[in-house]
């Protein structure tokens, strides 16, 4: 697709009055060949945009450059319908078809010189960064409220007391570290493919993260908390697993970031780098999820808390769904995708 975009930009700007829908002519020098009938011409396209459900004509654009991208068309559509900013437009060739990408070029689409597109309103959108920052700040703050035993959570005699078990302090540090790491990654590491997601997602996501954080924190910081059965050994082992997986997860995020130059949306196959934590790419497509699972398993063992186990399980199910989807996309997009890799668990899942 990037090759196509480059070709379109290199484009043919030979002004000629002939009505020829030029399908992919190579960038050749401007020469008049009197013998040939087919002449390279700038054929302006006409674009009409219909509502995908009602088929009403919403917008008609004439004199659209053949090398215009869908993104540019969305901007033009936005001018005539200011309530539909580009991020909430879904433009497609078929009312029930897939959305076209912003980078798609008009003349490379299977349309005639009068292109008909169908529009679907994706609903109010919110940026990924905003959602991530909100959903991760919640658990950080909420857990600390339970840790410091803010009033109205536990019985009044426990207000602002601290737990006598050192594992509780350790758990607070690990949990807080995890979410601070996520916040910093959101701000400085991740390169997002999409700018936005539907607005209702922020409510859904925050309910999930904040709800589970409160549920876990309630028990871990409870005055009647029971520390792990196997004591120091169990806690130490769990901590090692947790830290190992945190570093691993971070390494993968850095590796994925480096695949993609700033501001671009290119997709490449990730490969192991010099960092040993990335060697897991040999066996797994989405090792960031693998490491995330490992971190939460570590935290579960460290706290020996059933709600934490539930959270780990639910998270694992969701990440498996995502990993399988990503793995499938990789397989579809890249012919030479390494066959040994599994989506999330080596050889298993």
């Amino acid at each position: 697709m990037d090759a196509l975009a480059l070709e379109a930009a290199g484009g043919k700007k030979v002004a000629n009055g002939a009505a020829v829908a030029a399908p992919l002519p190579p960038p050749a020098p401007v020469k008049r060949k009197p013998a040939k009938k087919a002449k390279k011409a700038v054929v302006f396209f006409e674009v009409e945009i219909l509502d995908a459900k009602t088929k009403d004509k919403l917008c008609f654009l004439d004199k659209v450059e053949p090398n215009a991208t869908i993104g540019e068309i969305k901007s033009m559509f936005h001018k005539s319908h200011p309530q539909w900013y580009p991020a909430r437009q879904s433009i497609r060739l078929d009312p029930k078809g897939k959305s076209l990408k912003d980078e798609d070029v008009l003349q490379h689409l299977p349309v005639g010189t009068t292109a008909t597109f169908y529009f679907r309103d994706l609903g109010a959108q919110i940026s990924w960064v905003t959602v991530f920052l909100t959903e991760y700040t919640g658990p950080l703050v909420i857990y600390l409220m339970f840790y410091f035993r803010v009033p109205f959570i536990y019985a009044p005699k426990y207000d602002f007391t601290t737990s006598k078990h050192w594992v509780v302090h350790l758990a607070c540090m690990c949990h807080s570290f995890h979410y601070v790491k996520r916040l910093l990654e959101t701000l400085f590491v991740h390169r997002f493919s999409h700018g936005t997601m539907p607005l209702r997602n922020i409510f859904k996501n925050c309910t999930y993260y904040w709800g589970f954080a409160a549920w876990m924190a309630y028990y871990i910081n409870h005055p009647l908390y029971t520390p792990p059965i196997y004591g120091e050994q169990q806690i130490r082992l769990a901590l090692i697993i947790f830290l190992f997986c945190q570093i691993g997860n971070f390494s993968i995020h850095i590796a994925l970031r480096n695949l993609r130059p700033p501001g671009s949306k290119t997709r490449k196959i990730p490969y192991p780098t010099k960092n040993p934590f990335t060697w897991i790419f040999l066996l797994v497509s989405c090792p960031n999820y693998t490491y995330e699972l490992g971190s939460w398993l570590g935290f579960t063992v460290m706290t020996q808390c059933l709600p934490v186990a539930f959270f780990t399980l639910v998270g694992f199910i969701q990440m498996t769904v995502w990993a399988k989807g990503k793995h499938r996309s990789y397989l579809k997009e890249f012919r030479d995708y390494p066959p040994l890799r599994s989506p999330i668990l080596p050889f298993i899942l």
Binding site: T226, C305, D336, Y337, R341, P343
Partner: protein, 237 residues
Amino acid sequence: MSAAAPGTSKAAHSDVAPKKKKGPGALATAYLVIYNVVMTAGWLVIAVGLVRAYLARGSYHGLYYSIEKPLNVCPLCHIPGIVPSSVVLTGFQVMSRVFLTWAVTHSVREVQSEDSVLLFVTAWTVTEIIRYSFYTFSLLNHLPYLIKWARYTFFIVLYPMGVTGELLTIYAALPYVQKTGLYSVTLPNKYNFSFDYYTFLILIMISYIPLFPQLYFHMIRQRKKVLGHVEDYSKVE
């Protein structure tokens, strides 16, 4: 050429859930007809049992015991049924039925003689007999208008009746649950987990507030759609 990784050899077509929206084949139709006939019969048994017990005793106390067994089994049999209505709505209904029969009425002996139990059992019985007859006749493509009308009209009274019975029953169970700590887990324990069934029941009762109107108005909308057309197509909704 095709890179088939070992972990993905099973076709994970999780995006294409097997929806039985397209008309069922002959075998599936036969299964569904038998299933719906059996369900109709099951609820008829309950209805008959109720009437007989009432006539025998002269009052309606203690009627629960005469129908306890089929009543507890019938809601569970919803599960193998593939009905042509929303999975979510039907799922909710099945869950609430199973919950009321097993987790409330069966578990808390003291509520079994309550009138509220009779209220929801009667509502369910009439509803289900009509509903399963409706499905049976629809599958056989011989749907009498009366059945269709009944299905989309009786609920107007039966639904609130059933909900009232359910809520009153749960409410009646509350003091016993609190006293005995039924199905509850307290701290401290080595799993650092707790569950208060009493609070859970209260939350369930509260959840009726957003859920019941949605289901009720959904049925009203369905009624307008289905009974609104004078020339009906005997199609399953």
